[in-house]
Symmetry: C2
DNA sequence: TTGTACGCGTTATCAC
DNA sequence: GTGATAACGCGTACAA
């Protein structure tokens, strides 16, 4: 289509370019009559300001970059849904960076905001993608950003976090209260803060109960279903089997239950399983999953709101906001077997 | 940070702006020595071309807009993963438009590409967001785009589709072969082509088997788990209950199984359930779900490749590509009860 | 091979 | 209240 531009409108309405722009941006500054002439011309011709020109001139794109490891994980999908909803309501669009946990990919997407393809960054990874010169002020070297889920090792940026240790502590305490003493942990990648935090909570809870932590019962996973499958297979081979398995996310817990049932273990009579995240499917799995709920909608909203506030020029101190978890008890946990 | 621009590089390397640009875009056109001087200056200063300037000048953004109804549906999440992977490998980034099936939202995101915030459009909805003037050529009135999943009622654009009728036909035939004669259907929204196509296949299969279609056994859903729950509750209240339920996606099938088990029905002994999509969780639900598999990775890749080819100026006839489904038999279907 | 100059489409700063 | 005009940062035709 013969793209109609601001010049065409100016010609049709018999005004200058400036007046067209003003009519659209600051209508109050232009007289009723001329304003109407311009608006008529706009309506007639279907003119719409070109974003590339706008972006260059205003030095903003209206995009926010979201860097996240795995969009096929329902927790992350829910997170993005929430971010996108918030962003959209503020006039921002979401540029999606699904990195599959690849550091190169993370850097590549962060680059995009550094070269001005997006105004700000929502970063859900713990790996530092920046080359920081410690002698210069940090904020001069990184884009406007908010960090969440996996804590980044940087002081002075906005973060939205969950107290992983406390949440895990609570989950394990619940299992202890049910009489379990041999409790396994299927962790996330141990190079992440989330997995380390949860593992710390697990250890603390056991030790506070006077139990010794058996490293054989701790198996590293990667938050995918398959990891839950493999870890559980290993656990079942142990001479001293656990009576409960604490998986550091729901997907792995679903994998665990699957293996248990395939090997004729009853859940929770023979083995309790507890997850983390409270994804939608955890309700529909049999038995329904006991899990630690994260307020995913709130996390997404907070992240987007904080970022957008910064983009709008809010200059408060960078802060870390903690959101609260909740233990959701369903049917996959029960008293320890004799 | 004091942003370093192309002018700074030109000054440092003691060349003109043009030479800097050439060194970066068409290195062959610049002499070895000067090229090196420029590259050194670039490396030293950490200069990177600003995308807003680039975008305006080249009239392209490197973004593709993906408009999709619900990113929390695992099928769609897998789809986006595949799109993003393909796009990324071709140097494109994904602008995400999760519309939650809202027509306003669909229009709003399509607008974004029309005003030049993205170069092309991947459109996974059946609602026409354009105001088409039938007297003018279609391609002059719509952006470069590919349509998939829900077929759009427009001739002359690229599409990637599944033969829904055939796939559903096959699923129902399989149930018929197991001896089922009262087969329920939990559909998608009946204003979508996918649901209508699948329902047509369902009807055809029944009629070809000499059965009459009982409209009481057809319940409209919306592809969410809850719809499967509610539909199944209704079906169980019927005086003449079905012995099998064909859900038009896996999420609703998962909801159906949940209700059945809660009411002490055994699946598949008392009631068979079959889904559609073959999402990851269908393997891990108990019993594992029999379902019609869509090649989601292929769909995403094809969509992205077709679009990018167009963006690169390929001028072949617009075409509709059909991808093939596959019936995946697991444990949620069995012989009809006596 | 390199430099000059223009334009991409818009907004903002001046004058008038 | 409105109109020229200068940026925004870059790529490229043209001239040198």
């Amino acid at each position: 289509m013969a793209k109609v531009g601001i010049k065409d409108i100016a010609r049709i309405a018999n005004v200058s370019l400036a007046t067209v722009s003003r009519t659209l941006r600051t209508p109050d500054l232009v007289q009723e009559a001329t304003r109407q002439r311009v608006l008529d011309a706009v309506a007639e011709s279907g003119y719409r300001p070109n974003r590339m020109g706008m972006n260059l001139r205003t030095q903003r794109t209206g995009n926010i970059m979201v860097v996240i490891p795995d969009i096929t994980n329902p927790f992350n999908a829910d997170l993005i849904r929430s971010i996108e909803e918030t962003a959209s309501s503020h006039g921002y669009a979401v540029l999606l960076g699904d990195t599959q946990s690849s550091p190169e990919s993370e850097k590549q997407y962060v680059d995009l905001v550094e070269v001005g393809q997006a105004d700000g960054l929502l970063y859900f990874s713990g790996r530092n993608p920046f080359n920081i010169n410690p002698d210069k002020p940090l904020l001069d070297q990184i884009p406007t950003m908010v960090n969440s889920n996996e804590e980044l090792d940087l002081e002075g940026i906005d973060k939205v976090l969950l107290d992983n240790a406390k949440a895990a502590h609570e989950a394990v305490q619940y299992l202890l209260a049910l009489g379990h003493t041999r409790i396994a942990a299927v962790t996330g990648p141990m190079n992440t803060k989330s997995a380390n935090g949860r593992l710390q909570g697990y250890r603390d809870a056991l030790e506070q109960a006077g139990l010794i932590v058996d490293d054989k019962l701790i198996i590293e996973g990667d938050y995918h279903i398959d990891a839950g499958v493999e870890a559980t297979e290993k656990l079942l081979q142990l001479k001293q089997r656990p009576t409960a398995i604490f998986c550091f996310n729901d997907d792995m817990a679903i994998g665990a239950i699957n293996v248990l049932q395939a090997n004729d273990y009853r859940v929770p009579e023979d083995m309790s399983v507890i997850g983390f995240d409270n994804i939608l499917y955890s309700t529909y799995v049999r038995p329904a999953l006991t899990t630690v709920s994260q307020p995913v909608e709130e996390i997404g909203r907070l992240c987007a709101e904080k970022l957008i506030a910064r983009l709008r020029g809010v200059h408060s101190e960078p802060s870390t906001e903690y959101v609260s978890h909740q233990l959701v008890i369903r049917d996959s946990t029960g008293p320890a077997p004799e």
